[in-house]
């Protein structure tokens, strides 16, 4: 059951990662086009800066989960490695619980923040792009992280009980 949950999380995170990839590639292409058109033809791309900022928001928030799955978030592994396996699983349990709590709060607050933007009708500076949908998207992008930590927490609980 937990294996299926893990596979589901991986697929979900990889899918989200592709959205992030698209957004970051858009940032490179847009900036290059903007540089060329503004330097050579003196006509910068309208709203390029706005799109860049929003694309980065999407890129990062949708990449958090796959970065976590691939264990690329920096952590200090040295000390835990010195402990016994039993201690390690107990610590994992505790850390995963805290992380699950933190990301639930992050998702909740990002939704609340987006809702505030929606009510205020906030738009980007130049291109007047509504910002609320992107803030909602950032919140959605962090949901897989909650699922990953839930799965990790359940797995570590099962392992602790087994030992």
């Amino acid at each position: 059951m937990l294996d299926k949950f893990e596979k589901f999380n991986r697929r979900l995170s990889e899918g989200a990662g592709w959205i992030g990839f698209g957004a970051i590639f858009l940032m490179v292409v847009l900036t290059c086009v903007d540089v060329v058109t503004s330097k050579l033809f003196l006509t910068p791309v309208f709203g390029a800066l706005d799109v860049m900022m929003l694309a980065q928001l999407i890129a990062v928030s949708f990449a958090v989960a796959i970065t976590l799955i691939l264990d690329k978030h920096v952590s200090v592994e040295f000390f835990v490695m010195l402990l016994s396996k039993r201690f390690q699983t107990a610590i994992e349990c505790f850390v995963n619980f805290l992380m699950l709590g933190l990301f639930i709060v992050i998702v909740w607050r990002l939704f609340a923040y987006a809702y505030g933007m929606q009510l205020g009708g906030e738009e980007s500076m130049t291109a007047r792009i509504p910002m609320a949908p992107f803030a909602y998207a950032a919140a959605v992008g962090c949901i897989p992280v909650c699922l990953i930590y839930l799965q990790k927490l359940l797995t570590s609980i099962v392992e602790t009980i087994k030992k």
């Binding site: 540089v35 990449a63 970065t67 920096v74 200090v76 850390v95 992380m99 709060v105």
Partner: protein
């Protein structure tokens, strides 16, 4: 609890969470938000959390980070490093220890288009190690050299660590990049001198490679053209004021992509792979900065950095002693923590002290990078060592660590030179205006 006590407890809890293997970015965020909630109320803390995440993720000044990371990844995928090594191999490969010298020089060249130590070490390791083994180079020298020369990646511009430092302390990224040039060249020369000295004492460590004709040398020199074009386009454009830092990074990434396509090295597979790795690294760095932002707000609320800065500023000791202690803390911290994370975590605490003592922030940035470089090649978390171990799994870890020792000594000597002759780092930035 008073704000100061809360701040101290917060730092202690954060360190405990680090040691429990909680990701650094998330630990800083958690401690920052809980500490802020304790001092200013839960409602303000929760509002601050969402705002910090949203604003950091969409920050335009921060977009320079993923752009330069992508530039390095695309340059790696474009095979530029391979051609750089071929060039240096043809020119100095016939010297005693010539292949290690060639590796150091190629690493310096690749560092000029890639801002990551691990990427530089991985790239050069894959190319240079098989070649050195072919010519029966000693494993200690070969692996130690590649791991150490990889550290040039974060000193010679573009440097991701200097970018992050520049953003955190609000210093010009262009000036920081310029500041890294002379120390980078000095360090490259120190590594070359180390190789020469080692091979002079024990010639069997690095037997000479095949002699190449002048025709071959000149033909091979074409290998540095692409790297030079990319460097002058991106970094030169930044220095000349043509581009903003983000634009320079994007132009560099686009340029590396075009070189890869023109050379037929960039397939769909390598393109997606490089892009995804770049995105994940960028995401990791941006989340660390987000954590540092939340934690920084908590620290500011606790007033600890200001109290500490005042206290240290009034200590009856020479300022160089204080800076020496700070650098020593970085040196020790580098043993246990990733260099980027270490700098991001400690900047809110140490930078006010450095400012209060009147040290040049640009010089301090270069010093920090130099010390952080030591962290990536020293146990137990020397990232570059594990990268090289991955490339040469048959070489025991202690052999690689032993090979690093002479290069670590060179690194320490260069750091001491720059500590006492800061002009090496500050001279070039004083000439530029941005």
């Amino acid at each position: 609890m008073s704000p100061e006590t809360t701040g101290v407890v917060g730092i202690a809890v954060m360190l405990v969470l680090f040691f429990l293997k909680m990701p650094v970015a998330f630990a800083m965020t958690l401690v920052g938000v809980v500490g802020f909630a304790y001092l200013a109320g839960a409602e303000s803390a929760l509002a601050l959390l969402a705002q910090d995440i949203y604003e950091t993720f969409r920050s335009y000044p921060l977009s320079v980070i993923p752009m330069f990371i992508l530039m390095g990844e695309f340059a790696f995928a474009s095979g530029i490093s391979q051609r750089l090594f071929r060039t240096t191999h043809a020119w100095v490969g016939h010297w005693r220890g010539g292949l290690t010298t060639a590796t150091v020089l190629a690493c310096s060249g690749f560092a000029a288009i890639c801002g990551s130590t691990a990427a530089t070490a991985a790239t050069m390791g894959r190319i240079a190690l098989p070649e050195m083994r072919k010519y029966k180079y000693d494993n200690t020298l070969a692996t130690g050299c590649v791991a150490s020369a990889g550290t040039l990646g974060i000193l010679i511009p573009p440097s991701t660590v200097l970018i992050v430092y520049g953003i955190l302390v609000e210093e010009s990224i262009g000036k920081l990049f310029v500041a890294g040039i002379l120390p980078g060249i000095l360090l490259s020369l120190a590594f070359v001198a180390t190789v020469a000295l080692l091979c002079f004492r024990k010639p069997e460590l690095g037997p000479p490679g095949p002699v190449t004709t002048w025709k071959e040398k000149i033909r091979a020199a074409g290998g540095i053209v692409e790297a030079a074009i990319l460097f002058f386009l991106a970094i030169g454009g930044l220095f000349l004021g043509w581009f903003s830092p983000t634009q320079a990074g994007a132009i560099g990434a686009g340029g590396a992509l075009i070189i890869g396509l023109a050379r037929r090295k960039m397939t769909w597979k390598t393109f997606f792979e490089a892009g995804k790795v770049g995105l994940q690294t960028g995401c990791m760095v941006l989340f660390i900065i987000t954590g540092a932002t939340v934690f920084g707000h908590f620290m500011a609320m606790s007033t600890i950095p200001f109290i500490l800065a005042d206290w240290v500023g009034n200590l009856p000791v020479h300022h160089m002693v204080v800076i020496g202690i700070i650098i020593f803390i970085y040196f020790i911290g580098g043993f246990f923590m990733d260099s980027m994370a270490l700098i991001v975590v400690t900047i809110p605490i140490f930078f006010p002290i450095v400012e209060r003592l009147g040290f040049d922030p640009i010089w301090f940035g270069v010093m920090m990078v130099l010390v952080a470089e030591m962290g990536v090649i020293t146990p137990p978390v020397g990232v570059n060592v594990f990268v090289i171990k991955g490339i040469a799994p048959d070489v025991p870890l202690f052999v690689i660590f032993r090979g690093i020792l002479p290069f670590l000594a060179a690194l320490i000597i260069v750091a001491l030179i720059i500590l006492f002759v800061p002009q090496i780092a500050t001279f070039l930035p004083s000439l530029v205006q941005y």
